[in-house]
């Protein structure tokens, strides 16, 4: 009986260790597959090289980094105020029942597959930019041109996709602010708006901050939606209306027809992505642990 119990405990421990093993395997295979190009091309040349021309043996990913940064920054600029607004709305302005409905809607937003977002962007946002936004911009700058496939299109779609992350974690930490804080602020004569902006949001800032970092990680790692709407031109975008290629999109698109060296370069992009995401997520985790906020 006792040996059976022991054996079962061992098996369960092994199952718990599977995710650790998975991370180890992923790290080993991505790094060993990407290493050859990093070594022969040089890490510095790889990251700061301005030309991504795999057919000509040029593997500089600066344009891809610029593309990823462009769409991510754009998504954060649109997504942070919107997400925070929704979180405050959810935590402070809605009654319980309507809050549940609103939450279900936000969860639904998280459940829609990224390729569907990409398709929506392709069918709606890209033409809207080309036919409505571009003419507006041309009134100020007559030289402006855009196919619609652009950093702006990617940023808009990503902003919608990162909303659930920002809303749910921020809302959790806003709700976790003790009641006494509110009561004390109201007792001092502050109205509801002042209480929210000067007491509750500052008290919930660690949760809000980590939600933003996690959202940034999601935006950087997102692939299919961006792939369909940014135009995939490996160039440093000069304006939000320019086409761009991202780190993730380039991997997904070029993997199927890549030569061995090109493939290794794509794995090397994977290394860079992996490192960025693990760092971002660790920061978010550390903030939440340190300040005792809600976990994701």
């Amino acid at each position: 009986m006792k040996t059976r119990e022991k054996a079962i405990e061992k098996i369960i421990l092994i199952c718990a260790a599977v995710s650790t093993l998975a991370v180890a395997l992923i790290t080993i295979f991505i790094f060993s597959s990407g290493f050859p190009v990093l070594k022969s091309y040089g890490v510095f040349n790889f990251i700061f090289g301005e030309n991504w021309r795999p057919t000509g043996g040029q593997y500089g990913i600066l344009p891809l980094i610029a593309g990823t940064l462009g769409v991510t920054l754009g998504a954060l600029i649109i997504g942070i105020p919107t997400g925070l607004g929704c979180a405050v709305f959810l935590a402070e302005m809605l009654k319980k029942r309507s809050a549940r409905l609103f939450k279900a809607a936000i969860e639904l937003l998280a459940g829609i597959p990224s390729v569907v977002y990409g398709f929506f962007g392709l069918a709606v946002i890209v033409p809207v930019i080309r036919e409505y936004i571009l003419p507006l911009v041309q009134k100020i700058n007559p030289d402006a041109s855009s196919s619609g496939f652009s950093v702006l299109a990617g940023a808009i779609i990503l902003a919608i996709m990162i909303l659930p992350t920002i809303v749910s974690i921020s809302e959790n930490s806003i709700s976790a602010v003790p009641r006494e804080f509110r009561e004390a602020s109201l007792a001092l004569g502050a109205d509801k708006r002042e209480t929210i902006t000067k007491v509750i949001l500052p008290a919930a800032k660690s949760g809000i901050f980590s939600s933003i970092i996690l959202a940034m990680g999601r935006a950087i790692g997102e692939t299919m939606a961006v792939l369909l709407i940014t135009g995939n031109m490996a160039q440093i975008p000069g304006s939000p209306l320019d086409s761009a290629a991202t780190l993730t999109g380039t991997i997904a698109m070029e993997m199927s027809y890549a030569t061995p060296e090109h493939q290794s370069a794509l794995f090397a992009i994977g290394i860079i992505l992996f490192v960025i995401i693990v760092i971002l997520n660790s920061i978010a985790q550390a903030i939440m642990r340190k300040f005792g906020g809600m976990t994701a």
Binding site: M1, E5, I12, L13, C15, A16, V18, S19, T20, A22, A24, I26, F29, I30, S33, T82, G85, C86, V88, F89, L90, M93, F102, A104, A105, G111, I112, P113, S114, V115, V116, Y117, G118, F119, F120, L122, A123, D191, K192, R193, T197, G217, I220, G221, E222, T223, M224, L227, T248, I251, A252, M255, S256, L266, F267, G270, L273, F274, I277, N281
Partner: protein, 274 residues
């Protein structure tokens, strides 16, 4: 007075932002359903694609999606549930548990395209499984593992300690207690995790594209290449083959997501009542 105006403006703005968000959700779902549903017919669901999906239906793609998803949950469910049991019932505080927990969080944060790269390098090439249902299923099972663990663990936590003490006091061993007392109490938690995992597996594209391939033939063996609905949607959308088929495929995906979310909400609502 000034303060009052400011306050009204502030809450008005927040209400507006929330309304826009809801509007966007309705717009996305509505737009795709309205354009897609008229193109979903019995023929579309039961016929094979012709001319790379330009004509015909998506029957093999539906089967491929189910096949890959099924393989992934068959692999991930026992491991995920066991891992959650370890975290909640067996683990003692210490370094080991912290390390395992940290890596589970890391796994949850890895972007899908990295899973795709890994699945390609490891399952497809290194283990020689080729572009196949099994390569994709294994890759997806790693992706949904953290969701399963989290959801099961949450519901294990809600089982009162007194249940465990009662069972142990009656002479049951720890494993008997877990198997016969604790686990039956959190069936709905496991189920919620499973449904969310299925949702993720069905919607996943980048990882599947790099590990399952894109064959339009009906898959029979787990070593056959196939194509899932999400990958099919990407191919149709990026190549602009047929608007009708693209909208129909997207609508089908949205309908599945709606069903899955409703189910998950219903079950976790029941869980909350318990």
């Amino acid at each position: 007075m000034n303060k009052n105006v400011k306050s009204k403006g502030y809450f008005g703005l927040i209400g507006l932002v929330a309304a826009i968000t809801l509007g966007v959700l309705i717009l996305i779902i509505g737009f795709i359903l309205v354009r897609g549903i008229p193109n979903i017919s019995l023929e579309f669901l039961t016929d094979s694609p012709r001319m790379m999906g330009k004509e015909g239906g998506i029957f093999p793609v539906i089967i491929g999606t189910l096949y890959v998803t099924l393989v992934s949950i068959i692999i991930a469910t026992p491991i995920g549930v066991a891992a959650a049991i370890y975290f909640s019932e067996y683990a003692k505080k210490g370094k080991l548990i912290n390390i395992i927990r940290f890596f589970t969080e890391v796994l949850a944060g890895i972007p899908s395209v990295i899973f795709g790269l890994f699945g390609f390098a490891f399952f497809v090439v290194f283990l020689g499984m080729g572009w196949s249902v099994i390569s994709g299923g294994l890759t997806l099972s790693m992706m949904i593992l953290p969701t399963l663990i989290r959801s099961t663990e949450e519901s294990l936590k809600t089982v009162p300690v007194s249940y465990r003490e009662g069972s142990l006091a009656l002479g049951a061993t720890k494993w008997e207690t877990v198997k016969k007392v604790v686990l039956p109490c959190c069936k709905s938690g496991v189920l919620t995790g499973l449904i969310l995992g299925i949702g993720r597996a069905i919607g996943e594209t980048a990882a599947v594209m790099l590990t399952v391939g894109g064959s339009l033939k009906l898959p029979v063996s787990v070593f056959d290449s196939t194509r899932t609905m999400a990958v099919h949607l990407y191919t149709l959308a990026s190549e602009g083959l047929s608007d009708e088929k693209t909208y129909a495929t997207a609508a089908l995906l949205i309908i599945i997501v709606l069903i899955i979310n409703t189910l998950a909400n219903y079950i976790s609502g029941k869980l909350a009542k318990e």
